[in-house]
Symmetry: D2
């Protein structure tokens, strides 16, 4: 169990593998380092993988007051410094992608590449309303209510159609695992993303950047990734088909093929 | 105040205009005949328009037990018979489109044309899960909770971005207007749609059919309308851009242009 | 046979119907007033329809030197003035849409509504290259060559799949009907569109505007219509599904439903 | 210079790199082994890469009579056998993807993975018409004519907009490099693809398969890859954005990231 302490607040992280290339992964809002375990065998063969639980997430500390994503940005920076990691590939999905963009705007000299999956440069009014509905249901501390308010739009219709039993089991799980402290942490995480808006800032990013979207993502639809693509010069944009917001869960082969290939591939200018 | 009584249950309807062509409109699940009032001036100049509140909707009677959409189909049939309307254009949006398809499968000889907007031939597992979440929140009898659980995914992001004040007012309105009886009626309506599946039946429909989809509809996405289009021979399929599920509210000009033109246009075979 | 003479050059036009509302239609580059005849019965019941052959098109005069689309704009203006038509709906498809936009930028006080189908605000490099290939093949004066160079990408794959015999007949027809003068006229028309670029001008248009796109249009893809939609405030944007560039030929019901509804519909501000 | 001889016809191939994993690449119709040279440095670090010129392509022999793609399938089989390659990843783009599908239907035991880029299971009527237009222009033996007939729809509009000078140079190059023998070979290649239809056969493929599409591919649009995806069970489908038919030229980073990741990634069943 490894922790890093910033301003007296402890955050949990894991390091897997011995590869020369470091891949630092930032979670979506309802995820934790545990969410990536199924893929660690595969990833750690090739990379040194760093997983991190944001504050109010997984095994990291619950905070007592609200904050913005800048706090998570500083946490990432302290972790990379503490581990003496330079020129890492930083990958973030959803909330993690938002933090990754903010990190790249401020500290891109620490990065060699950036991967942004199912994320957005701006918490628009609709996403804010969705966040509000998540907060409202979290305040009931009722896992069933929370599941119903958050999960149905997360996945693609194909996934829902084929995974009904898994989703039912998941609903029962929600009812058991989350306690009041978790819900309160979740609410603070949602609030920390409400003011997210880096639309006018990400044009400074000039490291190789891969943008992954999913055609049935309705939390951060393709128009959100297109906006990022327009702002970040020379960014690469691929779309996973028949896939919802939790792309790395729904289509892990497609997701990790693209990510692992992107981290590995040279970025010389091809003269064709 | 006009009512029709079927099996001792009263349903409310309105007739507007004197046109030779009749347009019968079936509501979405959260709508009522009142929802169409802003457009009655325009529509009644050209058509005889019939509005109907389904059972458990608007001014129609609340029922006491659950039922399937077949009950609503029979209600429509009784109404057309009572008004002695023949060869009408039947238009349904969302839930109303589901009933309209079932009606056309059974009684297409009563119709001259069919318009299906933002609807689906099948309540898939994801839509069922969304319905479950609506039921769950309706059971709280809490307007704010209900609003947050149902409204954010209904509209397009553009609409949300530009209509924040209107949406806030709407949220306050929800909190006032709905009572326990309404919520219980709403729950029965949702349940009546849970078993909806006419995928194997609609291929019998062979009257001129217009299908309207919206590119940001995430309740019944374009793939749902494509499926209907593939099944109904010679059906016409148009898409309103930058528009969510409640297309006639978000983009009334686009919506009614297409509908009014389709009702008016001849359907001779054009020799080009 | 009606002609209007501008600067000693005669252009052919037709007037159909007696409706109070005037609909003036501008052709695509390979079309002529004859192309619209299959639809005149339907349209003339409701509207006074004006068809016009641009210079170098149909029964209008062949010119002797190259020109820009501005010449066609002035032709339209002279025709409307001569016919004493005020507040008309101007509809243009493809090349005709380009002229329609230029007309609206300069003379929108003469228009009540604008319909732009399968057109673009800008002849981009790819469209210019396509135009060059058309010119190159026109210079062979070989109908078969010309057909093969221009027609395959015009239609949707569905249309091609279902209309092979019609397309074969069409190829034979091309070989017979076009003479050297026609090809030279066609080349001048293509050249007149090469410098088309009203991207920075159409934001002055503030009459009700309908934009029609087709999802399989590869001459002026949806991104072209989206660009127009972003520039013309309050423009309405609908898409015909499974349809190529010649939308009014491939999907006449969808096309004319939308157009006729749009011309008819009121444009009051709906208070919803 | 390595050649393999099948039935007295010699075909050219190259082997690059020493990797344990073999990647065999099949060309598009206008390509040759030379087309992949810019990427060999990158690919050969990780894989043993085999390039092959089909008959009538590059340095391979020109044939004297027409044939079907089955001939190319047998050529690939003889090459793999001669090189004693087992369990290779076979990747084909466009025409090469068509041959790759036919190969996989017949000899999938020789493959470990399959990559299909910008290809189709069926030469539909439109694609056949496009092929006819290519043949017609090839018969002129005029490089400029040929360029204009084939190239403009190959690339995305973004590529065309940004690479005008390169495209102009390319047009001049075409005029010099191709001789009558090349054009006749090209015509035979087009004819060999005219009868391509494996729609009912590819459902036997059950090796890990990656399908790459491009959103602006108008030669083999996304609907073609979707069709392949529906037929090949568990196939993976990703789309490169703002990209035309020659995806590996337009977006090499996106293309090779996805391919290299897919070849590397494990295909265990992830238990999430």
């Amino acid at each position: 169990m490894s922790f890093i302490e910033v301003n007296h607040n402890k955050a949990y992280y894991e390091v897997h593998g011995e590869g020369e290339t470091s891949l630092v992964i930032l979670n979506g809002i309802m995820m934790s380092s545990a969410s990536w375990q199924p893929f660690m065998g595969m990833l750690s063969k090739q990379f040194k993988v760093v997983l991190l639980d944001f504050y109010d997430q997984g095994k990291s500390e619950y905070l007592e007051t609200t904050y913005t994503q800048d706090l998570q940005v500083e946490l990432v920076k302290e972790l990379l410094t503490a581990l003496d990691l330079k020129q890492v590939t930083l990958m973030g999905i959803s909330y993690g992608g938002e933090v990754a963009m903010k990190f790249a705007v401020k500290y891109q000299q620490m990065l060699s590449k950036l991967v942004l999956a199912n994320t957005t440069a701006y918490t628009n009014q609709q996403l804010k309303a969705i966040g509000d509905s998540w907060i409202y249901s979290a305040k009931t501390y009722d896992g069933k209510q929370f599941f119903k308010a958050t999960i149905p739009p997360i996945y693609s219709s194909e996934f829902y159609e084929s995974r009904v039993a898994w989703l039912d089991a998941r609903e029962k799980l929600f009812d058991k695992v989350f306690d009041e402290k978790w819900y309160e942490g979740f609410i603070r995480l949602v609030i920390s993303a409400e003011t997210h808006d880096v639309r006018d800032q990400i044009n400074v990013i000039n490291i190789p950047t891969l943008i992954i979207g999913a055609d049935e993502d309705i939390i951060t639809p393709l128009s959100c990734q297109e906006q990022i693509h327009q702002e970040i010069k020379n960014s690469r944009f691929v779309v996973i088909k028949h896939c919802g917001h939790a792309s790395m869960y729904e289509k892990p082969i497609e997701f990790f093929s693209t990510v692992m290939g992107f981290v590995t591939v040279g970025h010389e200018h091809f003269v064709i």
